[in-house]
């Protein structure tokens, strides 16, 4: 009795009020994220097992769903899915490695202060803030076989026999090698667009590397490459690995850049473009969702492997 009476007079303790306020304050965010990210993701898992097309949307009710494994089977057995998966892995691996290495190179080059460094640092970030559509339009013009600067330079000064249709050529013999031209172009675009982020993170990490050890090494006569290999690289390894994984995950799911540059032509059809064409061109929600679900599964595997490696390293 007296206990309840006490509570009524003093409704909330400080910590319970903190708990309540905390939940109320994150509430709006949680609701939006649940409605527009978590719920849709659950819906993907559902649609992947339904025979449903775009025309069926108005007749889609929760109580008359017919489940089927056909979508997953169809996607799993389609050679086009697996060739897209291979392309995606190659694309994501190459652009993530490229972005981190270029970012590292530029960060090291801009490490020591000089006049105008601030301006150059800002300029280097331009590709990252450029709207992707504007960037892709400019690149398409640069690479245009008719009036693009790259082909004009190649034909005029580098002795190319004819202009190269960069974004539609699947492969081209270059001596002993067969070069996947269009794929190389979209990878180059992705590296160009994303290395600034790697540059920013590596620069931030470089700023907190203790300077005294480096000075001591210098006085003892260690060369710059040696200092880099033994002092800087171990310091940067963690942030570079994290960046590589994040860039891999993002490039793996990239739709915009490839769709805008090539539309998936010339051997650049990645999984994201396949999801889109299943949905829009073939108007099949089921197979589009199945493709998306398998794609997410692959990403989960990558994340799990990374988490496992981190854990093993800490242990």
């Amino acid at each position: 009795m007296s206990d309840t009476g006490l509570r009524r007079r003093k409704p909330l303790t400080l910590s319970r009020r903190e708990d309540l306020h905390g939940r109320l304050l994150v509430g709006p965010t949680v609701i939006v994220v649940l409605l527009f990210a978590v719920l849709p993701f659950l819906a993907v898992a559902l649609f992947a097992f339904l025979d449903v097309r775009l025309v069926d949307i108005p007749r889609l009710y929760i109580d008359n769903l017919v489940f089927t494994g056909d979508n997953i089977a169809a996607v799993w057995n389609s050679p086009r899915f697996w060739s897209a998966a291979t392309t995606t892995v190659a694309y994501a691996a190459a652009s993530s490695a490229g972005a981190v290495l270029v970012g590292l190179g530029v960060a090291l080059a801009l490490r020591r202060p000089f006049r105008g460094r601030g301006l150059i640092r800002a300029l280097v970030l331009v590709p990252y803030v450029l709207p992707v559509v504007a960037a892709a339009t400019i690149w398409k013009t640069l690479l245009n076989p008719g009036y693009g600067l790259v082909n004009a330079v190649g034909v005029e000064w580098l002795g190319w026999a004819e202009p190269i249709a960069f974004l539609t050529t699947t492969s081209r013999d270059l001596g002993p090698f067969e070069v996947p031209v269009a794929l190389m172009c979209v990878i180059a675009f992705e590296v160009w667009k994303t290395f600034p982020l790697a540059f920013l993170f590596i620069t931030a990490r470089l700023q907190v590397v203790p300077e005294d050890i480096e000075e001591a090494a210098q006085i003892d006569g260690a060369g710059k490459t040696r200092i880099f290999r033994h002092l800087l690289l171990p310091e940067l390894a963690g942030v570079m690995a994290l960046l590589a994984v994040l860039r891999f995950l993002w490039s793996f799911q990239n739709f915009n850049d490839i769709y805008l540059l090539t539309g998936g032509a010339g051997g650049t059809e990645v999984l994201a473009v396949r999801v889109y064409s299943e949905l829009v061109v073939r108007a099949n929600i089921g197979t589009a969702s199945a493709t998306g679900l398998l794609m997410t599964g692959m990403l989960v595997v990558v994340v799990a492997v990374y988490a496992w490696m981190i854990k093993r390293e800490r242990a």
Binding site: R23, V32, P40, I57, V106, L123, L200, H230
Partner: protein
């Protein structure tokens, strides 16, 4: 882990008395040859320094040309008549008498990019406002308050951040057309808010941590409620960071393409700038007009970015120092 490795290598470089400093592969310089080795090493070092010095400027030059070059190329092309671009692709700098800004009104009025910009402005402003409202509250709770489910919420947000946009696009398209929200800018705004709130929350957290909690405690003792506290004390102190985050969200919404394509493509009046330009490239619109359009939609974000660059960079990279 990296700590110990650092110590090891420090040890080998600093305390070897300099004997083993010359890189491996230079076998002619092994063994105790103090004086000769020293002078030889100095010569090697300057050679190395010289090579690296040249390399450094080469990297800087290439980086600047590669990053700023395409934008400059777009600007230059947008100022030339299309005929001259086709016939003389190598003449980058337009002759004084051929400079024309006609492509800009053509792109903005005739091809409707002006209207697209108005749509994008509304969408991006609404997204930024809502995302900031939500994430200020959420970030404050994450920084200052201990509540049940805080860790779960953090994990969910991180997961959302990593979920492929294209995978979410399929069900969002289906669900939003089911409730009749495709083809409306409102639906787009909510999708953008959900996509940007986790990033905004992450960035704001670092700015809010910097606000001293003693100020807040003082205000609370003076009888200030939680919401009033956030609005009157925390927000003003963290204002630069909040502005930078808002700008970042604005940029993401302004640049976004995939969801705009899926939701709005059928309704030309509602196209955003990204969709507008991308659709124009499908038709035989002169390149100069496309370049003018691309530059026109780029100017607002690049200008905003340069204004808030320093703040944005610290907000984005604050996690990096921990490695």
């Amino acid at each position: 882990m990296s700590e110990t490795r650092t110590e090891d290598s420090t040890h080998s470089i600093v305390s070897d008395g300099g004997e083993n400093v010359v890189p491996v592969g230079d076998s002619g310089n092994r063994g105790p040859k103090p004086r000769g080795a020293r002078s030889f090493r100095r010569a090697r070092l300057t050679a190395e320094d010289r090579v690296l010095g040249v390399l450094r400027w080469a990297v800087i030059t290439v980086a600047v040309v590669a990053t700023a070059g395409p934008l400059l190329y777009g600007v230059l092309l947008s100022l030339r008549p299309f005929q001259s671009v086709v016939s003389e692709p190598l003449d980058l700098v337009p002759a004084l008498d051929e400079i024309t800004v006609d492509s800009y009104p053509t792109a903005l009025a005739e091809y409707g990019l002006g209207g697209n910009m108005w749509n994008s402005l509304q969408v991006a402003l609404a997204t930024a406002a809502l995302a900031i409202l939500f994430s200020v509250l959420g970030a404050y709770a994450a920084v200052r308050l201990r509540f049940l489910g805080r860790d779960t919420v953090n994990v969910v947000f991180l997961g959302v951040y990593l979920l492929p946009g294209i995978v979410l696009a399929v069900p969002l398209f289906v669900l939003l057309s089911r409730v009749g929200l495709t083809g409306s800018l409102v639906g787009l705004v909510f999708v953008y808010v959900a996509q940007t709130v986790p990033v905004a929350l992450y960035m704001l957290r670092t700015y809010l941590v910097a606000v001293p909690s003693s100020v807040e405690e003082a205000a609370m003792i003076d009888g200030c409620g939680r919401l009033a506290l956030i609005r009157r004390v925390v927000l003003p102190l963290a204002l630069p960071g909040v502005a930078a985050t808002a700008l970042y969200v604005f940029m993401i919404a302004w640049n976004e393409y995939l969801f705009a394509l899926l939701f709005l493509v059928a309704d030309r009046d509602r196209w955003t700038v990204s969709l507008g330009i991308a659709q124009l490239t499908e038709f035989s619109v002169p390149t100069t007009v496309l370049m003018a359009g691309s530059i026109a939609i780029t100017v607002p974000v690049v200008a905003g970015f340069f204004l808030a660059q320093r703040l944005l960079v610290t907000g984005l990279t604050s996690g990096a120092e921990k490695g």
